[in-house]
Amino acid sequence: MRMPPELTDEEIARRALSDKEAFALLIERYEAKLARYLERLGVGVREDREDILQNAFIKAYMNLNSFDPALAFSSWMYRIAHNEAMSFFRAKRARPQVILDGEGDALITELADEGADPAALAESRLSQGELAKALAAVPSAYRDVLALRFFEGRSYSEISDILEVPVGTVSTLLYRAKRVLRARFPDSFSL
């Protein structure tokens, strides 16, 4: 059955309860975004990402009735993918391998002082590899909020819904995460 493309995620989710083909459209909408998100969380192997995504979508389908329309569907879907990724890290005892594909600029700018000279900042710019390595080494709670905020562009409220923590905790985690990350590059950023 073909879905009108203008349907919102929430409307498709409702339809998917009675028509599982509709669920395919949601998978298509989120597959690439979530795969990139998992990469940023440190799931470095493509096959692992695919397994996690498959499990996440199956779980989403099974729990469609628990979707709270007060939330954005994307937050709910990111939450499921995030929880699957955490289960994966726990089960495999795997170390995260963060891969950044030229997307660390927003984070680097954020880490710099407000009054920093942009030219000097550009000169001492960290390589994506260095930043990825540092991100892989910070505690996962910090990596999660940094990835959601600076790579996924999520608002504090959305991050709160994805990670299931209060908004205040999101701000605290972000503040601490930036401080920890800055401390890893004392030559580039003042603490």
Partner: protein
């Protein structure tokens, strides 16, 4: 033997194939609604139990006999250790934590910070607990728990034991009868022992308490270690706060407001020698 699964190209196709193969269906909505209400109910129940704990704690604090601690205990720390409502404070903290843990597991429970939920749970428990205390349920609960926990003693039981120490000059019990002029009175202590209490050293406030009857606390000097005669220096009423109201006993005697014995200087040297004499005098004057 089943045919090997055909390789599928897209993730959507693979997911739908697995849904079909494993006959996966969405879990019914009522399960999630039930789970949500279940955790809200457990959370509310924990807060309600916290309210009971608070009412019992309040009853314990109100009836611990703080002002007479100078007479019953060697120092304030000893008194605090025996009278502070540790069990109920612990129970309140535990129920608040359980309430938080359950509310946190509801659909949107994660949105509320720990401090907000804990503060809300404490405030609710305190407000409800105060109401329960006002209705006399704090005392009922304290009595009901009674001696069940091996390390716990209800405050009234503890206090009765503090006032069942005539060798230390502390005697509590019911005034059974009063001699003319309240020169002496008969008191049945908390263990059932009957005492003749000499009231010759009592001042007007003490005499008023004795004349009113009921349960009293007497600070004095035992006549001899083995006798059942007690020399009273001070008499304080024993009022149980936060309990179900009991019928007021008929007065045992009437006293004149211009009693000659109201002057504290009239007390004998025997009474002036008791340990917290000055503090007890102050309490008496303050009208405990």
């Amino acid at each position: 033997m089943t045919a090997p699964e055909q390789p599928t190209t897209t993730l959507a196709a693979r997911v739908l194939a697995r849904i079909a193969r494993d006959r996966i269906v969405p879990r019914p909505r009522w399960e999630f609604i039930f789970k949500n209400y279940f955790f809200w109910t457990l959370g509310a129940l924990a807060v309600a139990l916290g309210a009971f704990a608070f009412s019992a704690a309040l009853f314990e604090v109100e009836n611990a006999g703080w002002r007479l601690a100078v007479a019953t205990h060697p120092d304030f720390l000893t008194f605090l250790l025996s009278a502070a409502p540790f069990l109920w404070a612990l129970a309140l903290a535990l129920f608040v934590l359980i309430g938080y843990a359950n509310i946190r597991r509801t659909n949107r429970g994660y949105r509320y910070p720990l401090a907000l939920i804990a503060f809300g749970a404490v405030i609710t428990s305190v407000a409800l607990g105060s109401a329960l205390y006002a209705f006399g349920l704090g005392g009922e609960l304290e009595e009901a728990v009674g001696d069940h926990p091996p390390f716990y003693r209800p405050i009234l039981v503890a206090e009765r034991s503090w006032w069942l120490a005539p060798e230390r000059g502390l005697l509590g019990g019911s005034v059974v009868s009063v001699a003319p002029g309240i020169s002496s009175f008969t008191l049945r202590d908390f263990a059932g022992g009957v005492w003749r209490v000499d009231g010759s050293d009592l001042s007007a406030p003490d005499l008023t308490v004795v004349a009113r009857g009921g349960i009293v606390r007497v600070v004095g000097v035992p006549a001899a270690a083995t006798s059942s005669v007690f020399h009273a220096c001070f008499v304080f009423p024993w009022e149980i706060r936060g309990a179900q109201p009991e019928p007021v006993p008929s007065p045992l005697a009437a006293i004149s407001s211009t009693s000659e014995r109201s002057a504290p200087a009239a007390r004998s040297e025997e009474c002036k020698g008791i340990r917290p004499y000055q503090q007890l005098r102050t309490l008496e004057e303050a009208g405990l």
